[in-house]
Amino acid sequence: MQLHSGENRPSEEGQHLSQIETFYDVMRRQGITRRSFMKYCSLTAAALGLSPSFVPKIAHAMETKPRTPVIWVHGLECTCCSESFIRSAHPLAKDVVLSMISLDYDDTLMAAAGHQAEAALQDTIEKYKGNYILAVEGNPPLNEDGMYCIVGGKPFVDQLKHAAEHAKAVISWGACASYGCVQAAKPNPTRATPVHKVITDKPIIKVPGCPPIAEVMTGVITYMLTFDRLPELDRQGRPAMFYSQRIHDKCYRRPHFDAGQFVETWDDENARKGYCLYKMGCKGPTTYNACSTVRWNEGVSFPIQSGHGCIGCSEDGFWDQGSFYDRVTDLTQFGVEANADKVGMAAAGVVGAGVAAHAAISALKAAQRKTQSDKEEA
């Protein structure tokens, strides 16, 4: 068998995704039992906040869908998104890369380098035109003709545009790709620019956070593979299923906020009792993310549970909102039913348009509650 330098072509020229073997075929051929497969589908449903009635649908989709090629490029970033991705517990990172997707280019993990790496990229773009997902970690700097980030001797922004041209969809991983993150904080010396300001003709899914939660990352990919569509996005382009509610709305310390019980200084008696961190600068009231529900690293904890306020890392421009220890002063008392769109629209004075979205969110939340209670019973 000759496997070197792309001489062993993955498929015939011009072959379509539908002719590639299905996700389920691959899992079975790799020795995964039907039982494990069904368990995986259940976990997927749970991760997506769907009720158990969705499990057969997911299984069916998995049985009929091909492995989708993914190109994962890196701009100015710190690689925390990749690190988070490999922390995923359901599905496991190894199952994602061996059985769910075909990660054909990812300079952080791929075996090949230099010319052979560039050939792998080009090969994937040509073979799967219009059918691959482009995942972007980090962002392109535009100052100095883009040469603050160089790949293959050329500006990263060139590689990004080239890879985006024939992508089916683009995923903007993390705060860097979604909003700019730390290198775009004032004065943004390199003019680090979020992906959607450079790629304007493709569907872009923003998955913000520094980094995003592992299971949110694999959940977004799994959703796309399973249902063969983009997740429902809010006005900022984030998947509504994970980013429609504030940390504060689902925080287990919320009752202390409502009761006026606050941590006054670090490690005081109230801190030890787990009171609300609002006075210590917690940005939970203004941050939309799934930390207080999905939590981190297989549900072990999340920032507030471990005693530090939320720093708001999934919000646009969170580096430039004053100190992380400044108290949120523009807190308006929205009910728990408020979602990102509704709050935004209320601020813009366009109340009413969010009704459909609101209904969908409420339904989703019902599903989430159901899933949660299922989990608790299990």
Binding site: E21, A117, D145, G152, A192, A271, N297, Q305, F324
Partner: protein, 596 residues
């Protein structure tokens, strides 16, 4: 041909080989070498190909926030910049931390070392030695026997287990969608393992991928998440409450038990998998002793893991501090990060300018003005570089030097310094490994020595992590639950001006942050980072850096396939986002960052 002051003969007359991107690293890097007619590397040029400007961004911010900014320098060695930052701020403001905070910080830092070393070895480095495609030819029964021979205590060693993994791998390869293995160098004669060792190591690639997500839960418990856990100037943010009202939301018995069980898992994996693998794989590459570079002549370590809070004296650190120069292991020099004559950065071959050439600046006086320009012998254009001109500026990495010497930092440097100082644990480990592998001491000065030092260090850090867990529990038992000192939390308690240094040993080596505070705000912030040392370009005097030195005189089996280059570069675990965030303004007119 010319000879560098640090003793390397450079000859750029042979064929030029370019590797860009260098993959399986953090960040963006390029490497160019010249090979002679025999395929031997006679000139090496290492280039950092990204710049983010974080220290520019830090200016004027609240020093208590700096840990969060600098933590985002790197998500792979996540937390180590944050720890360095809170130490720098505490040093500047004279803030002491409680004993429990020291134990928890040490556990988090040690946990990172272990996580980082394991992920590096299996997921970033292993494919330089291990051929997963060759694993398809292995006999699962023979693999099982090999596993039981090299590690009798590892429970996952049955023939059926290896057969299952092999089947999965086989189906993966036969699908034709090779994913991450695509275009690898699988028929290159540089790969020397028998199929059974390849199968064993590939299996552990997958085991380690499962394990690493467990290891980091120590960060999640104490810092709320990983990557990028939360830190606090003055201590740690997680309160301890083992038996009172509200203990469910604090560090309690359940949390401590989880930490303890993870610590045990780390120790087991190091003992049963990581170290045996390094020995087994290393045994097949015993004659591949390239890559020593600067390790036998110039090593630097700041030291880390203080036994007692607020005491950074060298004798109180579990990871050693010291500098070795001119290859003289009989003398370990003291390192003082405050001394303006010791650590200095040069930019003559970096894409920055100090206004006039030939200067070295101490970090407290550091200046950064980016200046991207290519030398006259560059091939290509400004935005399409074919070959760089290393006689001019050629990297986004500065060139830090210790008393003028280019230094290697990292696990091997720490172990060389520790060995030279007679550090008992380190000496026992190194002597034991050399004895087991029947190798002389000189063998440690190599690519494999670097890889082995990392594994030994992971094992040592596992033991230390347990030590600090026990210490934390004992202290709580003695009635001390304190985790933060808030006396100087309020900026109104700070002096008008202050400056400080924070030092750690990041997984990749010596890391320092230098801060100046004025009127409650950051006036200047400068980081000198491990990969800045290792990946540095030439300095004014022409000394080459550790990456470049380590590539010299290596034979490439096939110059078009950079297996050997990757092997040696990866042995440093390069982190380019760290090394090239650089710089910082000091308030004078040179410091303006050009924004076009």
């Amino acid at each position: 041909m010319n000879t560098t002051p640090n003793g390397f003969d450079l000859d750029n007359s042979g064929r030029r080989i370019v590797v860009d991107p260098v993959t399986r690293i953090e960040g963006h890097m390029r490497c160019e070498v010249n090979v002679d007619d025999d395929g031997i590397i006679r000139n090496a040029v290492s280039t950092g190909t990204m710049w983010r400007g974080l220290e520019v961004i830090l200016k004027g911010r609240d020093p208590r926030d700096a840990w969060a900014f600098t933590e985002r320098i790197c998500g792979v060695c996540t937390g180590t910049h944050a720890l360095t930052s809170v130490r720098a701020v505490e040093d500047a403001l004279g803030i002491t931390i409680p004993d429990n905070a020291n134990s928890i910080r040490n556990m988090m830092q040690l946990n990172l070392q272990i996580h980082d070393h394991i992920v590096h070895f299996y997921h970033l480095h292993a494919l330089d030695w291990v051929n997963p495609v060759n694993a398809l030819k292995a006999d699962p029964k023979a693999t099982s026997e090999l596993q039981q021979a090299v590690s009798p205590s590892h429970p996952m060693s049955s023939p059926g287990y290896f057969r299952d993994v092999q089947n999965r791998l086989k189906k993966f390869v036969e699908s034709g969608q090779l994913g991450l293995f695509k275009n690898g160098y699988w028929d290159n004669p540089a790969y020397l393992l028998p199929p059974e060792a390849d199968l064993m190591a590939t299996t552990h690639y997958l085991e380690a991928l499962d394990l690493q997500k467990e290891i980091v839960k120590v960060h999640t418990i104490f810092g709320g998440k990983n990557p990028h856990p939360n830190w606090l100037v003055g201590g740690v943010p997680c309160p301890i409450n083992v038996d009172g009202v509200g203990s469910v939301g604090a560090i309690n018995m359940e949390r401590l038990n989880m930490v303890s069980s993870i610590i045990d898992k780390c120790i087991e994996f190091n003992k049963n998998v990581y170290l045996p693998d390094v020995k087994a794989i290393g045994g097949f590459y015993k004659n591949w002793l390239y890559g020593g570079g600067l390790s036998s002549q110039a090593c630097l370590a700041y030291g880390d893991i203080p036994e007692h809070p607020n005491d950074f004296s060298a004798e109180q650190l579990h990871l050693p501090r010291g500098a070795i120069i001119n290859g003289d292991l009989s003398q370990v020099h003291d390192v003082d990060p405050r001394d303006p004559e010791q650590v200095q950065e040069y930019v003559d071959h970096s894409w920055y300018t100090y206004g006039k050439p030939g200067q070295g600046l101490h970090p407290w006086d550091g200046v950064t003005e980016p200046k991207y320009e290519l030398g006259p012998n560059t091939k290509g254009t400004k935005t399409d570089i074919k070959e760089l001109d290393e006689a001019a500026k050629y990297s986004w990495i500065k060139a830090p030097r210790w008393k003028g010497h280019a230094m290697e930092v990292g696990p091997l440097a720490r172990y060389v310094v520790g060995y030279a100082k007679g550090h008992e644990d380190i000496k026992d480990q190194v002597d034991g490994l050399l004895r087991d592998m029947n190798l002389p001491l000189e063998a440690v000065f190599s690519t494999l020595g670097r890889t082995a030092a990392r594994a030994l260090e992971s094992e040592y850090c596992g033991r230390l992590q347990k030590h600090f867990f026990d210490k934390l529990v004992q202290n709580i038992k003695n009635g001390d639950s304190s985790t933060a000192n808030v006396e100087k939390w309020d900026p109104s308690t700070w002096p008008k001006e202050a400056k400080g240094v924070g030092m750690t040993e990041a997984p990749r080596g010596a890391l320092g942050h230098w801060i100046k505070i004025k009127d409650g705000r950051i006036e200047n912030y400068q980081c000198v980072v491990p990969t800045t040392w290792n990946g540095s370009p030439r300095d004014t005097a022409g000394n080459i850096g550790a990456f470049e030195a380590s590539l010299m005189n290596t034979k490439m089996e096939r110059p078009d396939e950079p297996v050997e280059i990757l092997r040696t570069l990866h042995s440093f675990d390069p982190c380019l986002a760290c090394s090239t965030h650089v710089m910082s303004p000091d308030g004078d007119e040179l410091t303006t960052v050009k924004v076009r």
